[in-house]
Subunit: 148 residues, 2 copies
């Protein structure tokens, strides 16, 4: 199933999901969510803030964080941390892993096979919420540049 990308479907999904978590839909949250959907590449809060300001000149950084947290809380967005730098946000909730280029910081989503599951033993009593698989390395572009 494709992620809702047009405005109407996106807004409605957003409202429902927020409501389900006891959160309100607001112009800012809608905007932040749309930015995440449009911009593949897993932007960090700072980049989301800059883009959001284009349409909502008054928006503040604190609000961006509030919106991102709300989206994470209602299950529409995942938080992705890959290095010591800023946290990124990923609106793709399907099972996938992140290929991360340590050189340029690019992130590529790669879907995981439907049957993917962890066969390793788990700590006794540990309640799993979700997995996060990151593959660190160098992307094709950077590998090319490096040779020169």
């Amino acid at each position: 199933m494709k992620i809702a990308e047009n405005t109407k479907a996106g807004s409605q999904l957003l409202s429902e999901r927020l409501a389900a978590s006891g959160l309100r839909p607001t112009r800012q949250r809608e905007h932040v969510y749309r930015i995440l959907l449009q911009r593949r590449g897993h932007p960090a809060a700072g980049e989301v803030f800059l883009r959001a300001k284009r349409d909502l000149p008054g928006i503040s950084m604190a609000t961006v964080y509030n919106c991102l947290d709300a989206l994470v809380k209602c299950g529409l967005v995942r938080l992705v941390v890959l290095d010591r730098g800023a946290t990124r946000y990923c609106p793709n909730m399907e099972d996938h892993c992140h290929y991360f280029c340590a050189e340029c910081g690019a992130v590529f989503d790669v879907p995981l096979p439907a049957n993917a599951s962890l066969s390793a033993p788990r700590p006794k009593g540990f309640k799993i919420d979700h997995y996060e698989l990151a593959v660190h390395g160098v992307c094709a572009d950077c590998a090319g540049k490096r040779k020169k």
Copy 2:
């Protein structure tokens, strides 16, 4: 093979590995490495700093970061980021994943099966350096406390 834990073997391994990366062995680096080996639980730089000060009262935060980076560079330690909080450091270089309790912040190492490998397609030309698999959830202790 067990990780070198006694002082002599540890020091020697450390010297060799540092030298192999063109880095010098120093009292501080040795100390930081030993702290990481002794303290399971993947401490962050701040905690390493506090422990290091007990024996090396003059050590500075900048040096701790320098040491940690040196250890990462020479392949003795891995950097682990799990949330928006501070980066952690893991001296276990065997294939394993991290079970992370979102409630108390505890981290449990779980070895991966020897044949573990990723069957998913990778982005064209991407050169893989290493994987990082994190399982987010709630540990047994916290799950227990939560019920009350």
